[in-house]
């Protein structure tokens, strides 16, 4: 029963944390731009306002896939807090991403297609890095279970997996949709792709996407925190520092092209992961 309670608490608490992080994001971004910025709770106002808007649709399937996006993202968070299989978590995260893409493809809208195709390229960029992160964890711990990472007495991963950590920071930029990788949807209006993959989602369904993004923030920061899971507060500080670093990168970088993103994440992220795993394999002498 204990496990159920942990899962339920995580499902309730994660979006609250995620919402506040999104609020902090807007506040810090505003301050970096010399503005006062909205209140920290602004994302919650936005969320509830969107819930109260009337529903408009371009097709039925786009709504179906958004539920898939939300439910699979929640499942990922549950996997994280229940300390289950890291590799499977990453595959489930893949389903969440694919659901979102399919939602974008489900209406005959040029902007949402642009966004969906770019989102696919983002998946192509970050998926190998995340999978290699799981393999790196295996190389270090001999297990894919998150419970093995956080169990008392386990050595922190960061000292031996720091190249993979850098690669995961790249993934974090993509997953949080920050510049230079805010390709599939733009956080600010007036851009050539309107709102990318989110263009055709409005009202309550846009609120669901926002909610999913909050879960996603918590999830990816949780993955970052795993790099120093003993004691966990160090990991959380590292994750929050990474989050602030992403905000600064967001504000000092311009958006790049999709092709550049794939090349860059593969050339930097993949190579770092590969070197890291090769090193671990060699010092451990296989298996």
């Amino acid at each position: 029963m204990n496990q159920w309670w942990i899962a339920i608490i995580a499902i309730i608490v994660a979006p609250i944390i995620g919402g506040f992080l999104a609020g902090i994001d807007r506040k810090i971004t505003a301050r970096l731009q010399g503005r006062y910025g909205p209140p920290i709770v602004q994302p919650f106002y936005d969320f509830f306002k969107l819930l109260g808007k009337s529903r408009i649709a371009t097709s039925r399937m786009q709504f179906v896939w958004i539920y898939g996006y939300l439910v699979f993202m929640i499942t990922c968070v549950v996997f994280l807090v229940l300390k289950l299989d890291l590799l499977l978590l990453i595959f489930l995260l893949g389903f969440a991403g694919i659901s979102f893409v399919l939602g974008g493809f489900s209406s005959k809208s040029p902007y949402s297609h642009f966004g969906a195709n770019r989102e696919l390229m983002q998946i192509l960029s970050y998926e190998p890095v995340l999978l290699l992160m799981a393999l790196g964890v295996y190389a270090q711990n001999g297990s894919f279970m998150i419970s093995e990472i956080v169990k008392p007495g386990a050595a922190p991963l960061l000292p031996s997996l720091w190249p993979i950590f850098i690669a995961v920071l790249l993934v974090l930029t993509i997953k949080l949709r920050k510049s230079p990788f805010d390709l599939s949807t733009s956080h600010h209006g007036h851009q050539e792709l309107v709102k990318g993959i989110m263009t055709e989602f409005s009202g309550p369904y846009y609120a669901l996407i926002t909610l999913t993004e909050w879960y996603e923030i918590v999830l990816v920061l949780g993955l970052v925190a795993l790099f120093w899971a003993n004691p966990l507060w160090v990991g959380i500080i590292i994750a929050l520092a990474a989050f602030v670093l992403e905000l600064i990168i967001d504000n000092i970088a311009a958006r790049m092209t999709v092709g550049w993103m794939v090349k860059f994440t593969w050339a930097v992220g993949l190579v770092l992961c590969v070197l890291n795993i090769a090193y671990l394999y060699l010092i451990k002498g296989g298996a």
Partner: protein, 145 residues
């Protein structure tokens, strides 16, 4: 649903549409977003998409071509929605009134909630207009303000 009504007032997302303005008002609308005025303090965000907008900010007089587009965009904004006509031209047609290609103010095509006159409108006046629109909305929703 008190929290939703409160949130509606705290988070008006605007979409800005330019009919056939001289761009004077448009620049003032954008000025609202600058650090000096920073409308994001009030939760106002400028969206590029009617499907995400709550408030349609229209500048310039309606001409025969833009009337169709304006109607389409208005139809794509989910309820509840407000329309603010920004600038004298948007209110009444302004100096372009009675031109052969001009239909007149925005209210000739879609219902307008708030008129903000001025040529060009000052950013403070635009912010005032949005606040007025919010008050009108809250009155309609029955939320004490």
């Amino acid at each position: 649903m008190g929290i939703i009504n409160t949130s509606r007032i705290k988070s008006p997302w605007i979409m800005h549409f330019d009919n056939s303005s001289c761009n004077g008002c448009d620049i003032e609308v954008l000025a609202c977003l600058t650090p000096l005025y920073d409308v994001e303090r009030f939760g106002i965000v400028n969206m590029g998409n009617p499907k995400h907008a709550d408030v349609l900010v229209v500048t310039g007089p309606v001409n025969r071509r833009t009337a169709r587009v304006l109607k389409n965009l208005y139809a794509q904004i989910p309820d509840p929605k407000m329309v603010i006509a920004v600038g004298t031209c948007a209110c009444s047609g302004g100096v372009f009134h009675n031109c052969y290609n001009i239909l007149g103010g925005v209210d000739k095509v879609i219902p307008v909630d708030v008129y903000v006159p001025g040529c060009a409108v000052k950013p403070e006046a635009i912010i005032d207009g949005v606040v007025l629109a919010l008050q009108k909305l809250s009155k309609a929703l029955g939320v004490a303000k």
